[in-house]
Amino acid sequence: MNLHEYQARELLKAAGVPMLEGDVATTPDQAEAIARRLGGGTVVIKAQVHAGGRGKAGGVKLAKTPLEAREHSAKILGMTIKGLIVQKVLVVPAADIASESYVGLIMDRETQRPVFMVSAAGGVDIEEVAATAPEKITRLAVDPRFGLLPHQALGLALTLYPGFAQVKAAAKIMGQLYTVFTGNGASLAEINPLATTPDGTVLALDAKVSIDDNELDRRPDLAAMRDESAEAPSEVAARTAGLTFIKLDGNVGCVVNGAGLAMATMDLVKYYGGEPANFLDIGGSSNPEKVINALRIITSDPNVKAILFNIFGGITRTDDVANGIVAATRQFKLQVPIVIRLTGTNEAEAIRILQGVGMQALNDMDEAVKNVVALAQAAA
């Protein structure tokens, strides 16, 4: 789960990372008030959306006066950036910047440890630095049994600054960032830029934190940071229903059990010339209610022209899925054709249930996908 910049700032602030004071506004009035409270000088208005490149999209603006802060906020609030509507802006003083570094921590699959990445070439997209000038990035895997050791932080900071006062300050900030990372089950925590001001102060000007979704069950405080207004409503509904759903741009709705099979199903739709409208995994349990919710979510997408069920019953009982399909069609009439592939646990019973309402079930995945693609193309 990605946090907004203002939320990431809260976590960093709690850990002691030096930052400029700032606050979040949902209305131009609030933005103006914050700008005044910050002294009335120049501030930056930053759109709070889960999308990169918000600067280029016009989501970041300098405001020289509180009145300008109001005006800019009025423009940015409500703006759409990469399909997401800006609901909040962060208002922070504009900083006088002498240098910009990058300090990030990711959960690294290869070393199976938190890995620091730091670079004196900050302020820009670190992926680009990694691609074009990898030698400018210093990496360090941290042993989680011992944590970030003082000499390790110092060694990293020495790659960023020539002056030792800055080195010490940056090393301390790295320790704080590590605390934020491990203390909140993050998969990513980065400060970009970690800036110095002309007087030599080191401070974080922007922050990004992503939380491992698996942490949210045991961390209600973090789960409460989820901003559903920043997500597609269909994805919010799916999560509430215990489904894993990702909206895509195609017209073949997919309902599958298991993430691997769901991806393979989407791929097969594409292979046979179709375009998947979504990724949807109903998971291992075969609660008919989940099937009803899945159908409701998929049919609410006007792009969907045909629906495919692909269920390989293991733990999932295919008769439960069949019951769910039947119940759903009783609750709301399907406007698009549906192709059902079922095999595995309680398959015979499932077929019987479907046949009872005049529906057919296929046994073969390829055949089912070919059919649904043809149906979608015919309807388009």
Partner: protein, 290 residues
């Protein structure tokens, strides 16, 4: 015969009295797996299914039953602790079925099991099945058949889909191993490839990967350098968008790395036959076994 599990397997089920644990223990017993003990703290002294003794701790179970393998069905927040407990009790193979284990827990857990030389499979995996011999986890027994194809996969139902094609076409399996869909897992493709290479009862290997990470790329390089047996590979997630977690915590394309194209290219470069569809497995295995 098989890898990792066989007739010597003496299984303890952690979380045996839970909903998942009891359901799958019954299936494992039905398949013939030698389930010697169960563990649920607070339920020590009970008996499961009329024959499996339940203990408060894995240590007690090992002392009483000489269990050497563990399978874990406890809730996500307790899974890492269950792995540590099994490792501490002297279990040599731990299979963690549980999904949703916080990744931060796994960083420490992996170091703990590594120090003890214990093999962990998973978490968030369907487990293993050695057809006709032993089932540890949740892979349906009825879709498998004994044979000489080794299968290793990051997913669950996709594995069933592929195994089903193999079995229906007379291509039995030596062992099917689900290594799990999480970013940090105990056993990698490479570990399983090496075991299949060493297994005299495996002739060909099917490897089912997906987007995210570089495990498949490394496995491909390993296969090219170390395997003499043919490998047939698949990558799920060609149509997956970047930056979105496709169900599995590990199935996510970060930046420009971990894409299906990159992995398929690595397979091809290593001489691995690449399936475009699950059903292709039959033809490609047959071709490579000729």
């Amino acid at each position: 015969m098989s890898i990792f599990i066989d007739e010597e397997t003496r299984l303890v089920v952690q979380g045996i009295t839970g909903r998942e644990g009891s359901f799958h223990t019954n299936h494992m017993l039905a398949y013939g797996t030698n389930v010697v003990a169960g563990v649920t703290p607070g339920k020590g002294g009970q008996t499961f299914a009329g024959k499996v003794p339940v203990f408060h701790t894995v240590a007690h179970a090992v002392t009483a039953t000489a269990a050497n393998t563990s399978v874990i069905y406890v809730p996500a927040g307790l899974a890492a602790g269950a792995i540590l407990e099994a490792a501490d009790a002297g279990i040599r193979l731990i299979v963690c079925i549980t999904e949703g284990v916080p990744v931060m827990d796994m960083t420490r857990t992996m170091l703990y099991v590594r120090e003890r030389g214990v093999r962990l499979i998973g978490p968030n995996c369907p487990g293993l099945l050695s057809p006709g011999s032993s089932k540890v986890g949740i892979i349906p027994g009825n879709i498998c058949a004994p044979g000489r194809v080794g299968l290793v996969s990051r997913s669950g139902t996709l594995t069933y889909e592929v195994v089903n094609h193999l079995t229906k076409n007379g291509l039995g399996q030596s062992t099917c191993v689900g290594i799990g869909g999480d970013p940090i897992i105990g056993t990698s493709f490479i570990d399983v490839l090496a075991a299949f290479q060493a297994d005299t009862n495996t002739d060909a290997i099917v490897m089912l990967g997906e987007i995210g990470g570089t495990d498949e790329q490394k496995a491909a390089a390993f296969a090219k350098a170390n395997l003499t047996k043919p490998v047939i590979g698949f990558i799920a997630g060609q149509t997956a968008p970047k930056g979105r977690r496709m169900g599995h915590a590990g199935a996510i394309i970060s930046g420009s790395s971990g894409t299906a194209e990159e992995k398929i290219e690595a397979f091809r470069a290593a001489g691995i036959s690449v399936m475009r569809r699950p059903v292709d497995v039959v033809e490609l295995v047959r071709a490579r076994l000729r």
